[in-house]
Structures are given as C-alpha cells and as structure tokens.
Amino acid sequence: MFRRFVAPGILLAALIFAPCANSQTEKPKSPAPTEPGLDGWGRPIVPPAQDRKSAPAPKHDISGIWEGFGISGVGVLGATNMPEDGKPEHQPPYTAEGREALKLTKPSNGIRSVLPGETNDPVFKYGDPQGMPREDLYELRTTQILQRPDNIVMLYQFNKVWRVIWTDGRELPKNPEPRWYGYSVGKWVDDYTLVVETTGTDERTWIDRAGRPHSTDLRVEERFHRVDHDRLELTVTIDDPKMYTKPWVALDKFRFDLIPASFDVREMIWSPSEYEQYNKLMGNGSANDQ
C-alpha cells in the first residue's frame, strides 16, 4: 500500500523541495562581528563601556541616551520577565476574566502563535501604537530621556515614539478619556529612583507581544533606578485586578547603559508598507516576487 500510493507522492514532494544547496549538520552559531559599524553621519558607533568603573549616579537625574542591554528588551515571547514559553512559572496570575480575555488575543509569536495572516495583534494587523506598557515590553531599545523642570520626555527608538511623564506634582486624572499611552506621573522616592505610575490606557492595546490582556483599570508602575552614572535599571509591574489576581513583574531590573550624548539614534520604524513587503517575500517562502 505504502509503496503503491504514498511513496510516489513523498518522492515527488521531496524532488520538488530539494534545495540547490549544500547541506551540513554542524550546529550553527552566530559569527562574531567583524568591525564596528558607522552611524548615518559616518561616525563609528561607540559601544557602551562594559568594564569601566563608573562615577556615582547624579541625584534626581535619569537624563541621557540609554542603550538597552543586548537584545533582552526585544520581548519576542512577551514580557521579558514573563515570556510565554509554556512554563507555568511564566504565566501571569490570570483571573477568570483574564483567561477569557487572553483567549481573544491571537499573537504571531510564542506558544499560542497563529499564522501571521491570522493574528489580531493591533500593532501588526492595523499598525496601531504599542501603547503602555507594551512600549517597555516589546522592542525596548535605545531610549533618550530628556529631563525638564516639570516633566520627563521619553524618546523611544522603536517607531520613533515619545511620551511625557509629569513630575510637577499633579495627580493622575480620575476616569480620563483613554489614550494609547495613558497618563503618566513620576515621583522621586529617593535620590536615585523615579517611580512612574500610568493609568488611562486604551483597552485595545496589549500588555506585550504575547497578547496578555488588560482592562481600563490597568495601572502600570515603572521604577527607574540609576545604579551609577553609566547604568540605569527599569522594573515594570502590572496591576490590573480585573485581569490578574495580583500585581506581577513584567520587566525586572532591565539594564540600560549610558552612551555618548553625540550618538545619533537611528530610525527603527516598521512602516506598514515595509512590513507588508516582508510578509510578501517571507510569508509564504516562495521567494518568487521579483
């Protein structure tokens, strides 16, 4: 039976898909970079020093250009501290309502991944803003922080997004009109730690790339701790009693390194047209779009 009916099919499929390439079985590894790159101005990209003895942190100051350490801020499987990898310890403490809401999100990565064409990820399907706290939990890369007398302005590399954190003593608004990035206020709890609270985020946004849901009751805490002159840490805690039985830490002491003020942060914008092109060329693997 197998020889008569199945084998010819398998053989034909194998011939169709046989690639014109040499195949090896050695485990691939990332090759080392050959030389430093240049920025858009033709200047060498100076990496953050990894072994220097940093000066003490300045008080009440998190300004500067900060580079996320490595690629740990990418959050491809969801919140870096709570990736959706199937491990029970990485599951946020969902309420019953939270579990039901989770079923409605269809991410294109992680263990619940659907095909790209089937995702309802608002960022990838519609080009919606990431909003808060996803801005901290997905593609967190080089971040410029501008500190002013009454507020702090965050400039994110990914998609060139900015947001304002008010530090003038105002309280968070009561029952505000929802916004993609909500409303943020910050207070110094000691000389080196700024705690930012954000509420009023639009329900259409996801917590992270894995599609963790939130309600309008979401309250996000960002804790920026300046370890020394050259190092900043960010911890993000999610609190949404409708969706989660208790607050959970989505990002734990994420490391930022200070880079020179002359660094020109490169654009990293996922335009819908470029993303469509990527999906067209890679989406079906046919590689025939010339």
Binding site: F5, V6, A7, P8, G9, I10, L12, A13, I16, F17, P19, C20, A21, S23, Q24, T25, K27, P28, S30, P31, A32, P33, T34, P36, G37, I45, P47, F69, G70, I71, S72, V74, V76, L77, T80, P83, S108, N109, S113, L115, P116, R141, Q157, R266, E267, M268, S271, E274, Y275, Q277, Y278, L281, M282, G283, N284, G285, S286, A287, N288, Q290
Partner: protein, 139 residues
C-alpha cells in the same frame, strides 16, 4: 489510480508548505541543526525593517537554478556589525551560509555573507528565544 493518489498527496504537501508560515523574530520554521551554503547571484537586496532580506539565484551542478530568499536582523542592529544599505547590490556574487527552513522551501536565516572581495558580514543566529543578552551584537 495509484499515481493519481501519489500526485494528490504531493500537491497536499505543496499546499501545506505554501501556507504563510513566518512571523518575524521566529525560529520555529527554521531547522536550527542544519545549515546550507548558498553560492549565487544577488537578485534583490531589501535593506529595511523589520528584517533585511536578500534574494539570490543559486545554481546546482546541473545548472538548475533555485531562487532563495534569506533574512537577517533589522538594519539598526546590523549596522553595528558592519552592514549598511550599500553592503549588497543586484548582481553581486556572494556565498551565504544560512539556517534553512524545515519545510524545504528555499528560504533561510543568514548566518553570514561572504562577499566577492572577501568581506564577511555576520548575521545573527539565536535559535533558542532570541532573548539571550550574551548573543547580542557587540559593536
């Protein structure tokens, strides 16, 4: 009859393989235990987000040409490893090592690119989860 059934099965395999399978940042589609060496001519160079893409024609010893598409990281990451928008152009002769996709289609993830002048451009490969700090580019 039996050959018709065989052809039907083959077409079913084709249909499954042609379904959209990629999510950028994903390694689930790649065979991370293998690598392929592709020596060919660049037919398309896409320096853009979310990931750069190279298309190239690769001929085997019998002259049969396969049209490959391979990807690497985003430009912002790759410039730290010596890449730029002028790293490749249509017509360049290159040798690319890559992780192939599991389904056998001519699609891969770049391990590195060797240019005709001997320049080697490293891709990035982290099949685990792509969240290991130690795998980050060190500019």
């Amino acid at each position: 009859m039996r050959y018709k059934l065989g052809i039907v099965l083959a077409l079913q395999v084709c249909a499954l393989s042609a379904a959209p399978l990629f999510a950028h940042h994903g390694y689930a589609n790649y065979d991370t235990d293998r690598k392929v060496t592709l020596k060919g001519t660049v037919t398309r160079w896409v320096w853009s987000n979310p990931h750069i893409l190279v298309q190239l024609d690769v001929a085997d010893e019998n002259g049969r040409v396969a049209h490959w598409t391979v990807e690497s990281e985003n430009p912002s990451t790759l410039i730290r490893s010596g890449w730029n928008d002028k790293s490749l152009k249509v017509g360049d002769q290159v040798t690319i090592t890559a992780l192939p996709v599991k389904n056998g289609n001519p699609v891969g993830r770049i391990i590195d690119v060797l240019l005709a002048d001997g320049t080697r451009l490293p891709g990035r490969v982290n099949p685990a989860t792509e969240v290991k700090p130690e795998d980050s580019p060190k500019p």
